[in-house]
Structures are given as structure tokens and as C-alpha cells.
Symmetry: C2
Subunit: 181 residues, 2 copies
DNA sequence: ATGCTTACTTACTAATAAGTAAATAGTATT
DNA sequence: AATACTATTTACTTATTAGTAAGTAAGCAT
């Protein structure tokens, strides 16, 4: 992939998480990268194309990382899953699911489909970790693994959102409640 | 309060939760209510004024409802707190915290302050219910009430967000995990 | 009856939005 | 050397945005 193209996607990703998909324009990107408006359109004819690429890249990245963790214990895999959100919290960052889901109704069909993929990939991975880890006796909880996965995933997403509003280390507070299983 | 003014705020509230604060314009409001653009500006000179009113009204409404529940048991109060989110889920709706927090950095200072008020009010209320209910022996959980409140609040906010993306009844799935304390 | 206030409309503006067509500079291919 | 492809700029267009200034019709107050 091209340099300029990648810089555009990187910046778009950052802007989506900072200001939301409707909170930045092609002008914000072209100014920051010292290129012209039309150069951004050259790589991404419409804003939906750019948004789609941001989500697709996250899906691809998640699918690439996940298999590399298969040799770890289930608890280690859960810790890494949660650590991903801790990294974001450290930089006062939110995740793409948190950034896009609140405006999902206004996204293109392609973007909605890809967002759904991102969310269900993450949820499926977490469910697998919890299912296998519970069977292996590494975890102990009374809910079904599916329900527990929904709970943990939701708590992680919104802890980042609340952290930005309250600046109160919400993530640190909930962490113990999530891993103490 | 005036009829037109209230219709504007009601619609703005709906649009914020459907499309996000940056996902609608004064034209969307004026067209829907069959008034002119300038009429919206008459009541709310800037969009930040309108956004502020939407959040302020939610804060006021929350502060009005809360005391009326003081005669209930702590468990009943917790159930009502959660039921509020269930109602939203039924209509595929999200809450204002979920809608605004992802774009909080781009909001006016007034809006940010009011959003913080909304979030901390809700969190304080939940913390109180959990603290008193635990002391009274109605609840049993190992985390601190503060941490548990953060966890429940986060899970509720993001379950609505995820529900819209996945259309998967995330809320129903997590509910048992939240109230089984 | 007069002025004052409320609740708007008419008719704009200036800025910004996404998007496009055509030209150009540099690089690779034949 | 001519051709074609890639990455870009120049120079726009069209639509929408938030916002405003000036006017008006109806009701109330003196």
C-alpha cells in the first residue's frame, strides 16, 4: 500500500475516534497531510469509502492478531483482550465500535456491514476464550459464556467512553470485576 | 414552556440518539416541524445551545424522578434503574450518554460540563443504591459499590450501542449478569 | 391608540461540505 | 523516444451548513 494512502487512513482512524465520523472533513485530512482535497478523493472517492477502509483495516488487523495467541492459556488470552482496551484508555482513546455504533444508522450499508463484522468478530473471539477457558477450569462464572462475553465487551467499550467524559479512570475500576472470574 | 420550543427539543433529542449530534442540521428540524430555519435559531441561537438544552433536560428529568423512588427497596430501585435502559432497547434506542460521549471532545464547554453532570448523576445514584443495598444485605458482591456501579453503567450504555449494530438482544443477555448480585 | 413583547417569516450571507473534470509531473514500459 | 500509467494539483461546482438582519402579525399593557 501507498504512503499517502496509508497516512490518510491512519489520520481518518484517529479523527473518527477523536471527533466521530461526522466530525471531520476531507479538508481536515488534506490540510494535516499537506496535500489537496482532491488527492484524498483520488484514493477514496466518497467519505463512505474512507470510512469503510478504516473499519475494514480494523477487521483485518483483528483477524491477523488473533491466531498468534492460540498457544497462550485462556486466561492469558483474556488478559490480552482486555489489555487492548487498557492501551486505548491510557491515551484517552476510544475504540472504533464505540465511535461508530452511536451513529450506525447514518452509515452506508457497506460500513454498517463491516461494523457488524468488527463487533461480532470481537464478540466471537471473547466468547470462545470464555467457553474454552471455563471448560478447562481456568474460569468460573455462573452465566453462559455468550452472556458473559456480551457483558465484558459492553463494559469495555463504554468504560472508554465514560473515561473521556468523567476523566475518572473508569476502566481501572471495572477491570477487577471483569477478570475476577 | 412553549409548544414549538418543546417540539424542537424533543425532535433534537430523538435525532441526537438516532444520528448523533453532528448527524442532523437545523434544516432537518425546521422541515419536520413545518417551520422555518430561523425559527429554530430564535429559540436556540446556536446548535450548541440546542444540544445543551437536550442534555440539561435529561439532567433535570433524572433529578426529578430519582427522589420519587426513595420509598422502594434497594433492589426495586436497581430494577427500575435497569428498566430505564430496557425501555430504550425495546425501541432500538440508545441513551444520551452513549450518543454524546463518543464525540465529547468536539462539544462546547457548556455541553461537556452538562454531559459530565448527566453521567455522574447517574453513576452517583447507582452507587448509592449499591452501597445502601449491600449494607442492608439486599445485594451481595465482592467489588466495591463504586466499581460495581461503573461496571453496570458501562454495560448498560454499550449494550444499547451493540444492540443496534448486531440486532442481537445484547441487553437481554447481560441483564441476568447485572442483577444477579 | 400606542408602544412593547412574543413568535415567528423572508431573504439573505459566509463558510464549509463532498465531489468532479481536466491538466500535469514523474515513473515505468515498449 | 514515444506511450502509458500513477499520483497528484488546479480549479471548479453544487449543496448544505450555521447563522443573521430586517420585517411582520398578533396579543397585551398603559
Amino acid at each position: 500500500m501507498n504512503d499517502t494512502r496509508e497516512e490518510i487512513v491512519n489520520l481518518a482512524d484517529k479523527l473518527v475516534r477523536e471527533r466521530g465520523f461526522n466530525g471531520f472533513s476531507y479538508a481536515d485530512i488534506s490540510k494535516a497531510l499537506n496535500i489537496k482535497n482532491a488527492a484524498v478523493h483520488y484514493y477514496f472517492p466518497s467519505k463512505a469509502d474512507l470510512g469503510l477502509e478504516v473499519i475494514s483495516r480494523a477487521v483485518a488487523s483483528f483477524r491477523q492478531i488473533t491466531p498468534t495467541r492460540k498457544h497462550l492459556t485462556w486466561r492469558e488470552q483474556l488478559d490480552l483482550f482486555i489489555d487492548n482496551y487498557r492501551q486505548k484508555q491510557k491515551h484517552q482513546d476510544i475504540c472504533l465500535i464505540g465511535a461508530f455504533s452511536s451513529v450506525s444508522g447514518g452509515l452506508s450499508e457497506d460500513m454498517q456491514r463491516e461494523l457488524k463484522k468488527l463487533a461480532s468478530d470481537s464478540l466471537n473471539e471473547l466468547t470462545t476464550i470464555l467457553t474454552e477457558g471455563k471448560e478447562a477450569g481456568e474460569f468460573s462464572f455462573k452465566e453462559t459464556p455468550e452472556a458473559k462475553a456480551y457483558l465484558i465487551q459492553s463494559a469495555l467499550i463504554a468504560s472508554l467512553l465514560l473515561d473521556r467524559v468523567l476523566q475518572n479512570n473508569v476502566f481501572d475500576q471495572i477491570e477487577q470485576g471483569l477478570t475476577g472470574i
